[in-house]
């Protein structure tokens, strides 16, 4: 069971964790990304997250589906926050569960690394000196396919 969401509401981390787990699962893992008070040596007062929401949700679903195939767990929940976040607020929550712990760690790590590579979400850091800046992120890789109409998803 896969569940993903992009939301402007504060993330209910307990609810995210509660979505995973099964009677034959011996391990569950909850990862939280949290807004912190500094970046590159500068003092941060808060963060604005912006998403291309119509694309972000399917990309999250895609990442979750890859985890099911690769890591052998069918319980993955990913919730990403958007909007204005204060220090200490949760920007992303990832919950997975699996029969054994190794797959849970692998699955959780895979999700957050793929999010950093290709989820169309951006964040602007607000500094305590009143300035702000879009965080320099990663350029998503081009798709691995020939550029033909026939192969392009419609």
């Amino acid at each position: 069971m896969i569940h993903v969401a992009v939301t402007s509401d504060p993330i209910d981390t307990i609810a995210v964790l509660a979505r995973v787990g099964a009677d034959d699962h011996g391990a569950a893992l909850l990862f939280l990304g949290v807004v912190r008070n500094h970046a590159d040596g500068r003092s941060v007062s808060g963060m604005t997250y912006e998403a291309y929401e119509e694309m972000a949700t399917p990309v999250l679903k895609e990442i979750a589906s890859e985890v099911v195939k690769r890591c052998g767990t069918d319980r993955v929940t990913i919730v990403h926050r958007v909007g204005e976040l204060a220090i200490g607020e949760v920007s992303v929550a990832i919950a997975v569960s699996s029969p054994h712990r190794a797959e849970a760690y692998e699955a959780s790590r895979y999700v957050i690394e793929e999010i950093k590579k290709r989820l169309p979400i951006w964040k602007k850091e607000h500094y305590t000196d009143g300035t702000d800046k879009w965080v320099e992120g990663m350029k998503p890789a081009a798709p691995e396919r020939a550029g033909s109409l026939a192969e392009r998803p419609i």
């Binding site: 912006e50 920007s91 999010i115 989820l119 979400i121 951006w122 879009w134 992120g137 890789a141 550029g147």
Partner: protein, 83 residues
């Protein structure tokens, strides 16, 4: 009949161009690369877009060589920074 494309700009690109979207007409047979060329050819501030930005066509990442169709939603994706 030309192609009618809707271009979307997010985050730093939106701030750079001062708009979140733009409707663009292109000749038939145009590709993603042609759209980038057309926009950058408009001069400042458009020429500050990268020569090969990440682009999603109808919410899927696309190659510069991908052909466009009328009605396509073409999003210019600045380097992502989720999580």
């Amino acid at each position: 009949m030309p192609l009618s494309i809707r271009a979307l700009f997010f985050a730093a690109y939106r701030d750079l161009l001062g708009t979140p979207r733009l409707d663009v007409d292109l000749p038939n047979g145009s590709t993603v690369a042609d759209l980038v060329l057309e926009l950058r050819g408009r001069g400042a501030p458009f020429d500050s877009l990268p020569t090969e930005p990440a682009v999603a066509v109808n919410r899927h990442y696309a190659l510069p060589s991908d052909p466009l169709q009328s009605g396509d939603e073409v999003a210019f994706i600045p380097p992502v920074a989720g999580g």
